[in-house]
């Protein structure tokens, strides 16, 4: 059985243009990258594009990786930035998005699943900025300081947007207060 190569070995090989090493990194981290991109963009198509961009650009981007913190965290943050950038460009171009295509219905689902379906739909319906901050804070676990740096806003503003997102979600889910 061959030893599982460490990330540091793989990164060195990827930086030299080794596609096999890149493939191994892909197998390790693609699902996480895709999940981040999907949650932030709300679109499978956009998430696939971000995933592709991240791995196509990775060998050159590694020049900027200093080794501080985990490689997974560094990579997922890049994916988050790329997703936010994509949404910003789309908005700047005036592209109009309908609701996320995967609106689900609650018919014949157990209550817990209904809750999740309702939350998913409510999350999909959030304005972009609220969804992004909510996803980055509540799901991806970034601090308001980190979110602020990614979005180019203050930490206080990030917190305010999070509260608004929660408010909007509660109202969507039928809690009036």
């Amino acid at each position: 059985m061959s030893a599982r190569p460490r990330d540091s070995e793989l990164l060195e090989r990827v930086g030299s243009g080794d596609n096999q090493a890149l493939s191994v990194l892909y197998e390790r981290y693609a699902e996480g990258i895709y999940a981040v991109a999907y949650r932030l963009t709300g679109s499978e198509e956009d998430a696939a594009d971000v995933l592709q961009d991240v791995f196509v650009g990775l060998p050159e981007a590694l020049r900027s990786y200093r080794g501080a913190g985990s490689f997974k965290g560094w990579l997922e943050k890049i994916a988050a930035r790329a997703s936010l950038l994509r949404k910003r460009q789309q908005k700047r171009r005036g592209e109009i998005y309908g609701q996320a295509a995967n609106q689900v219905t609650a018919a014949n689902q157990p209550d817990r699943v209904v809750d999740r379906i309702a939350v998913q739909n409510a999350l999909d319906a959030l304005p972009d900025e609220q969804r992004q901050v909510f996803v980055l804070k509540e799901i991806e676990g970034y601090s308001h300081g980190e979110i602020a740096a990614m979005l180019g806003v203050t930490a206080g503003y990030s917190a305010t947007i999070l509260y608004r997102a929660r408010h909007t979600l509660r109202e969507s889910l039928g809690d009036p207060r």
């Binding site: 596609n19 493939s23 609701q99 979005l151």
Partner: protein
Amino acid sequence: MIPFIRHPTFEDLNRYADGDLGDTRRARVAAHLADCSDCRCTVSTVRGLGRTARTLPVPTPPDDALSQILAHRDAGDRVLLPVEDIGAPRGRRPIAASVAAAAAVTAFFLAALAVWAPTVRADLSRLTIEPERPPAGETLELSYDGSALFPEQDRLVVRARYRTADGAGRLGSVGQLVRDDGDFRGRIELPDDVVYAAFAVEDLGARQVDSNGRRFWEVLVHDDGKPAYAALRARADELERRDLSEAYVTIRRMTRLYPTQVEGWLRRLTLEKSAYLGGARDSIIDLHWRRFQRFERALTDGPAPPDQIAWMAAYAEALGHPRAREWLERAHARASDHPATLRLFISEATRSRHEASDLLFMYDSLWVAGHQYAWIAQSALTLIEQQRPEPELIEEWVARHQPTSSRSVVDEGRLLADRPETRSEGIRLLNEELNRLRNIQQGDRILYASLAEQEDMNRPLIQHALLGLGAALLEEPGRRRDALHALRAAVAEGWDPAALTESAALLLAEDERDGAAAALARLVVQPGVEIERPELRSLLAESRSSASWHRSSEAARQEFHRYIMSRSVVVAVHGIDDIRVWTAAGQAKSLSSLLSEPATAIAIMTPLALQWPGNLADLQRAARALRARDIPLLALTIEPLSPQLRAHVRQKAPGVELMRVDARMERALNTAGTPDFFIIDDLGRIRFEHVLPAELAVTAAVLRSITSGISVAASSPFDTGDAR
């Protein structure tokens, strides 16, 4: 411990749930929670939202994602990733981004279909209007000092665009100026219903127009010593089409002078939301949030005017406010006829994915009810084009309403000509519009355009009309000759790749191979355009081996380069207060109209940057991404390039066209002030470089310092101003 007399704020409960409260406050909230089930429920819900969200399923990546990635790497594609945050505190702001982002950033320099015209320099003329701040219906005394521009004329024409309080506008000649001891003088009666006027001066033959550098000379009707609200709104409407930064200045004035008008704040929010990025945005949005809440308090305390209710609904929607739905319901109930309510109503219907026929019926009902707004007509046309509702509804719509522009008429004509039952009506409409576009009447000419300029601006529409006519006539018995004539004329008329492709295909289908080849020649010279239809590709391969192909494609290339360079624009962005767009002629243009027009993206490259393989691959990929949006990519160089370097670029990035900055572009860059240049440096980082003072010569010096040591040919075909 002082308990909360009322409940803690939602914000405090959030912060409590997040563990972000200081000790004292946390204790107070905790004490309150002990006795308040409602607030406990809130905290529980807030925490539960995050927990549930973390368990939501996520789809898996596509199966072929890895193979696609490896294929891109093998093809030499590269992507610049955002490895740093926006909030990076360095003096320069590197924007390393994906190529799609690079393409968008590149698109900061856009070439649009603007018009080259003899530049009439504004500082050589002045139109003085007395009184400067007239009331409605006043007589204006005009004095024009423009002798340097019109040395031979004794009489000049004043044209104006008038705007009224209800948002309507009209355009035309409003008077004459007569030379009187050097200056020109005249008098104009301002109509009672006009709140805003923009004036331009021209000679009797409309060969030369002085539009004050497209800023015109303006008059706003005043009331009580300040500009009337309707006048400011009219000015904002006017400027949003051509000078966004000035429009913003006007809208800020609206909110300052009339702070209780919700509409002004909504318009301000709309501009500020899209323009502000970074740290200033949070305070901007917070300002509007607080303003909205103040309006809510003021407008809920008593009966509110329907107008304000409608604008509040729109304001709430734009803010993403939790009470947007409530306000929309109030607007339906109290202000259902208001344009703002109608827009929200239609947006909601569109979002709810109503059937196309239902939506068209809705537009038609609104039109019949007297809400004949241009945006309704345009939305309906877009709907018809994209979703093809029932034919009877299309016909009713077309029969009932007046097209709002030449573009609408041409689009409608083509839609009708596309269907056998309405083909003759479509052909009639297209013929009429072609005649009108070719024989420009006074009233059909936009305010700053001379007759020649208007003719030039009409060409893309003429191309489309000819194409539509040609296609329709091919279906009519005995009209083949007329059809071919129209299609050949369409090819010669313009550069739109879609129109050229369709013309080529139609001509080829009629065995008119020469005509189709001429269209192909005009396609292949455009950067980023690829011939995809198999039959056209075969024709292209066949044509390229012919002796005449080289001559015709070279002629097309030179013509195209002249066409593009005469239309290049520079976008100078200094912040929300100062966004200026200039054509190569140094004329201002509206950013919003620019972004909706066909465009060419321009990247300014140093020779060093062009030599780095990664950059060329990035540019090539950007060219492909932009082509998907019908935007070709040009790389502009300030420095001359050696033939070897140029050949290298052609080999590595065939989708990118290289052009040298010419004297006109250089003047435009100087006029524009401090432009944002898109430069890829030798490490492959994309940088925005603000160069002060605002002189291209300084920028060139900076670029030379980057490229020192690179030997370039002393001269090249580029330097002679040739197209190649």
